[in-house]
C-alpha cells in the first residue's frame, strides 16, 4: 500500500517535471515568422567556380550576414555578386596565405573581374525581384529586424537558395519551377496575377 503510494508520487513527479521542462523549452524557442516554404527539392549539380568560395566559413563560422555581401538584393531585382573591392576589404589582411585568397588578390591586381558562374537563374520571360521579397520577409518582419543576424536572415534566403550555411559554393537545391513559385505565392499570399511575374 505504502510503496504503491510512493510509486504514484514518483510517476507524478516525473510527469510533472517533464511537463514543466518542456513548457520551459517551448518558451525559449524563437518566435520569428518565416515564409512557408513550398514543397519540392531539386538536386542541382555542383558548379565549378573560378574561386571555390566557402559560404559556410563566411556565414557559419564568421557569422557574416548574407546581405552584407549580396547587398544589392534589398535595392534591386538582382541580389548580385559583391564587387571584388568588397572581398578585398577584408582579404587584404585576412587569410592572405590561403591559395583561394591569393587567386582573388591576383584577379584584383590584374584589375580583372572574376568570371563567376550563374547557379540560380529563372527563364528570361520571368520577372523576379529580390527587393520586394526581401522587404516582405525580412524588413517588414518586425521581430526579425529586431535581431538581424546571419542566423535570422539565412532561413529566409534558404526558402529559394537552400541553407548556404551548409554549403561551400552555392548549389541549386530548389526546383524553381512555375508550379513551385505559384505554390509559395499561394501559401504566403503573394500576388496571383500572371503579369506580376511574366514579362
Amino acid at each position: 500500500m505504502k510503496d504503491l503510494l510512493r510509486r504514484w508520487l514518483l510517476t507524478f513527479l516525473c510527469v510533472g517535471g517533464f511537463l514543466i521542462g518542456t513548457s520551459a523549452a517551448a518558451s525559449e524557442a524563437p518566435t520569428i515568422k518565416y515564409p512557408v516554404p513550398p514543397p519540392g527539392d531539386y538536386n542541382g549539380d555542383v558548379v565549378e567556380q573560378p574561386i571555390e568560395f566557402p559560404h559556410d566559413i563566411h556565414t557559419k563560422v564568421n557569422k557574416i550576414n548574407c546581405l552584407y555581401c549580396h547587398t544589392y538584393g534589398r535595392r534591386s531585382k538582382v541580389a548580385g555578386i559583391p564587387p571584388t573591392s568588397k572581398c578585398m576589404g577584408c582579404h587584404r589582411v585576412i587569410a592572405t596565405d590561403k591559395p583561394r585568397i591569393q587567386k582573388l588578390t591576383e584577379y584584383w591586381e590584374k584589375r580583372q573581374s572574376i568570371p563567376w558562374k550563374k547557379v540560380h537563374d529563372v527563364p528570361d520571360f520571368v520577372h523576379f525581384t529580390h527587393e520586394r521579397h526581401l522587404k516582405k520577409f525580412i524588413f517588414d518582419n518586425e521581430d526579425l529586424v529586431q535581431n538581424l543576424s546571419v542566423d535570422t536572415v539565412a532561413p529566409v534566403c534558404a526558402a529559394c537558395h537552400g541553407d548556404l550555411r551548409e554549403m561551400t559554393v552555392a548549389r541549386k537545391v530548389k526546383p524553381m519551377t512555375m508550379g513551385w513559385c505559384v505554390a509559395c505565392h499561394e501559401a504566403n499570399g503573394g500576388p496571383g496575377d500572371c503579369w506580376k511575374c511574366h514579362k
Binding site: T177, M178, G179, V182, E186
Partner: protein
C-alpha cells in the same frame, strides 16, 4: 420508304440473292479489288508525302509559310470545317435512316460511317497544324496542371476540343458496334492473321437470340445518341465564328447553316465513294442505281435547304443595315474573292439541279463529276466564310486580300491523301458493306414479292398476320 422500294419499277436489290453469295461477294473485297484501287492508294500516298513535307517545313520555319497579317486564319481553318462537315452524313445515313427504317441505307451506311470517323480524324489535324506553337497544343486540354493554369472555358476553341473528341469516340464506337455480326462472319470465312484479328474483334459473337436483342438495343441507343451530338458538334464549330464580333462571322444563323452545309458535303462525298467502291469491288449487285438515285434525291433536298439558308443569311445582312457586315458581303460578291464566291454559289445551288434529272442520276460518270464538284463548292463555301471577313474587317487600315501560299495548299492536299489512305486501308481490311443488314434487306424484299405474288395468285399465304400488316401499309 420501304414500300416505295416495293412499288417502284426497279428493285434496290435482287430478292433472290442467296445469303451465301452475299457473304462471298462482300468478303471478296478483302482480297481482290480492281487495279484502280491500288492506283488510288499510290495517289493518296503521294499527296500525303507532299503534305507532310510542307508541314515539316512550316514547323521548322514558322507560320509565315502560310499566313499573313491580318489573315490569322485561312486555308487551314476553312479545310478544318470542311472535314468536320464531311463527317456528318455518315451519322445521317446510319443513324437517322436507321431510326426511320429506310432499308436502302443498308448496303451503304458502313462505309459512310467509316468516312465519318476518318474525316473527323483528318479534321482534328488542322486546328493543331495551324497553331503557332503546336508543340504546346495540349495546353488546351484541362489536365490537372502543375503550374495551376487552366484552359479558358469561355473560348469556343476549347469547346471545339471537347465536342470533336466526343464525336470522334462515339462515332468510332458506333461504327464498331454495327460491324460486330459481320466481323463474326469474316472470322468464320477467313484464315491466317485475318482470322485472329476478326476473332478478337468480334468479341465471341455467335449470333444467338440474346446477343441479337442486346445488339439491336445498343445499336439503336447509339444511333439516338449520335443524332443530337452530330448537330451540336457542328453548331459548336460554327460558334468559333458566330461567337466572334467580326462582320460576316457574327451571324445567328450560322449553326443551322453549318449543319446544312455539313450534311450537303457529306452526301456528295458518299456519292463519290459509293461510285468508287462499286467500281473497286464489283458491287453492282449491292450498290445499285436505285440506291444511288435515292442518295442523289436526298442530296438535292439538302442542297436546296443549304441554298435557302444562304439566302436567309444574305437577306439578314442586307436588312440588318450593319455597315461593316454589308461591306464584307459586298466585298465577297464584287471584290477580289468574287470568282471564288460565285463559283461556290454555282456549285452549291445551281449544279445540284443535275440531280433532279433521272437520266443524269443514273449516269455514273456524270454523278462522279457532279459529286466532286459539289464538294469543291462546299470547300469554297468554307473558304468564303473565313477569308473575306478577315480581309475587310472593322479596320480599313489593315484591309488586305490574301492568297494561300504553296505550303498551305500542300498541307490541304496532304489532308486528302491522309483521309483517302485511312479509308482505302479500312475497306480493304473490314467488310465495307454490312452483310447481315443486306441479308435483312433481301429478306424484306422476298416477303414483299411473295405478298405481291400472293395477291396475283390468290394462294393462301403462309403467314397471314404478317401479310395483313403488309396490306395495311
Amino acid at each position: 420508304m420501304k414500300d416505295i422500294a416495293i412499288h417502284s419499277q426497279e428493285k434496290d436489290i435482287r430478292e433472290d440473292l442467296p445469303w451465301k453469295q452475299i457473304n462471298t461477294d462482300i468478303l471478296r473485297s478483302l482480297d481482290n479489288p480492281r487495279r484502280g484501287y491500288w492506283y488510288s492508294i499510290i495517289v493518296c500516298l503521294v499527296l500525303l508525302a507532299i503534305g507532310f513535307t510542307a508541314e515539316v517545313i512550316q514547323y521548322q520555319t514558322g507560320m509565315g509559310m502560310s499566313k499573313n497579317h491580318p489573315h490569322m486564319w485561312n486555308l487551314y481553318i476553312a479545310t478544318f470545317i470542311f472535314w468536320i462537315g464531311m463527317s456528318h452524313s455518315g451519322t445521317l445515313l446510319s443513324a437517322i435512316l436507321h431510326i426511320v427504317h429506310a432499308d436502302w441505307r443498308k448496303p451503304i451506311y458502313r462505309f459512310a460511317e467509316a468516312m465519318t470517323t476518318f474525316s473527323l480524324m483528318t479534321a482534328l489535324l488542322f486546328p493543331v497544324i495551324h497553331l503557332g506553337r503546336l508543340w504546346n497544343f495540349y495546353w488546351v486540354v484541362p489536365y490537372i496542371p502543375s503550374r495551376g493554369t487552366w484552359p479558358n472555358f469561355r473560348s469556343p476553341l476549347s469547346w471545339d476540343g471537347f465536342a470533336i473528341m466526343t464525336y470522334l469516340t462515339s462515332s468510332a464506337l458506333f461504327l464498331y458496334i454495327g460491324m460486330l455480326p459481320d466481323l463474326a462472319i469474316a472470322r468464320d470465312n477467313t484464315t491466317g492473321w485475318r482470322k485472329q484479328l476478326y476473332s478478337t474483334l468480334s468479341l465471341g459473337w455467335c449470333g444467338n437470340d440474346r446477343q441479337w436483342r442486346v445488339f439491336r438495343k445498343a445499336y439503336m441507343l447509339m444511333a439516338i445518341f449520335l443524332i443530337p451530338l452530330a448537330v451540336s458538334v457542328h453548331s459548336i464549330v460554327s460558334s468559333d465564328f458566330a461567337m466572334s464580333i467580326n462582320p460576316g462571322w457574327h451571324v445567328t444563323t450560322f449553326p443551322p447553316y453549318f449543319v446544312a452545309g455539313a450534311l450537303y458535303s457529306g452526301c456528295a462525298a458518299i456519292i463519290t465513294l459509293f461510285i468508287l467502291l462499286r467500281y473497286y469491288f464489283r458491287w453492282e449487285e449491292y450498290m445499285t442505281l436505285p440506291i444511288l438515285e435515292k442518295i442523289c434525291k436526298l442530296t438535292f433536298a439538302i442542297a436546296m435547304m443549304w441554298t435557302y439558308l444562304n439566302l436567309v443569311e444574305f437577306a439578314s445582312v442586307w436588312y440588318g443595315h450593319d455597315v461593316y457586315g454589308k461591306e464584307v458581303l459586298w466585298g465577297k460578291m464584287t471584290g477580289a474573292y468574287a470568282p471564288a464566291f460565285w463559283s461556290m454559289m454555282f456549285f452549291g445551288s445551281v449544279l445540284p439541279f443535275a440531280l433532279a434529272f433521272r437520266s443524269l442520276r443514273r449516269h455514273i460518270p456524270t454523278m462522279m463529276a457532279v459529286s466532286i464538284l459539289l464538294n469543291v463548292g462546299m470547300w469554297l463555301e468554307r473558304w468564303m466564310i473565313v477569308s473575306p471577313t478577315l480581309s475587310q474587317s472593322f479596320y480599313p487600315w489593315s484591309w488586305d486580300v490574301m492568297w494561300p501560299t504553296l505550303t498551305s495548299w500542300a498541307i490541304v492536299l496532304g489532308s486528302f491523301g491522309w483521309f483517302g489512305l485511312l479509308f482505302l486501308v479500312f475497306v480493304k481490311i473490314f467488310p465495307s458493306v454490312s452483310m447481315y443488314e443486306v441479308k435483312e434487306m433481301v429478306y424484306h424484299r422476298k416477303l414483299a414479292t411473295e405478298k405481291a405474288a400472293a395477291r396475283v395468285g390468290g394462294a393462301a399465304p403462309a403467314y397471314g398476320a404478317h401479310m395483313k400488316k403488309e396490306d395495311a401499309v
